[in-house]
């Protein structure tokens, strides 16, 4: 057991443990916090594999902005109440768990075949070289503004669209009026 592997083990436990805990947490806030924990662990995993910039972005954007947004909304709606334990849909849980196990087994199988792969030799060194020479951020930037320029611009547009969309959805008409989204929402009294 090398140090590397020990560190990996910690990462593994935290990430997967948080994920499983998410499944069983009753309170929505707890779920969010467990997700944050998992994301932090993942950031460490990124670091371990030479994705420095991505690790930073993960913490700042994902854990720091997106999850905060989640928490805001949870607090806003006040939906942190407990979920009822009884599952109304018959067989849903069994199906989910069964498929989950199946998928997990398959993925682990595939992953196991990749254990001996080249990465231990050429890939590691190449990536390390890139991280050395122009540096991780510079290399990323170079790719981003050359080969992947179009997707980059598109993501810019995507963000603008998202902002505008949210503004439209949430805008209230009149002083005490309802928002556009609310007015298209079905009324509460509709029998279900």
């Amino acid at each position: 057991m090398t140090v590397d592997f020990a560190i990996f083990a910690i990462v593994f436990v935290v990430a997967l443990g948080s994920s499983m805990a998410m499944l069983f947490a009753k309170n929505a806030v707890h779920v969010a916090l467990f997700l944050v924990a998992a994301q932090v662990a993942l950031a460490l995993a990124f670091l371990l594999q030479g994705a420095f910039f991505i690790a930073a972005i993960q913490i700042i954007v994902y854990a720091g902005a997106i999850m905060v947004l989640f928490l805001f909304v949870i607090m806003l709606l006040g939906v942190d109440r407990r979920d009822a334990l009884v599952e109304p849909l018959a067989g849903q849980r069994a199906l989910a768990v069964g498929l989950g196990l199946l998928l997990a087994a398959e993925i682990v199988y595939v992953a196991a075949r990749g254990v001996d792969l080249v990465a231990a030799t050429g890939g590691d060194r190449a990536l390390g070289a890139i991280n050395e020479d122009p540096g991780n951020v510079v290399a990323l930037a170079r790719l981003l503004f050359s080969r992947y320029l179009l997707p980059f611009e598109v993501t810019g547009v995507t963000l603008v669209v998202a902002i505008v969309g949210v503004m439209v959805l949430a805008k209230r008409i009149g002083r005490m009026g309802t928002s556009v989204a609310e007015r298209t929402e079905p009324r509460e009294e509709v029998p279900v």
């Binding site: 997700l35 990124f46 909304v73 989950g100 990749g114 792969l117 991780n136 609310e182």
Partner: protein, 102 residues
Amino acid sequence: MTSVAPGYFLALAGLMFTVGAVGVLVRRNAIVIFMFVELMLNAVNLMFVTFARMHGNIDGQVVVFFVLVVAAAEVVIGLAIIVAIFRRRADANVDTANLLKW
């Protein structure tokens, strides 16, 4: 760079992905479901990073960058919609939206 073989990282990512999928199916709170989707996206990010390492170039990390951006946009709009739907009610149970049926 760690000396741990990439396969382990892939296994971790796969398991997290599976947990995310199961969670989507099992939980009933709309926001919680959304969070499990984010968990799946995170697992995928880990996979891409691992692939970048396996291939020895940065392209995988560029993909992760884009995934991150899109996830951010998606979360924003998704939450706005959820707010719009569930604002009146105190409960965000997705099972209540079951009118589109036979």
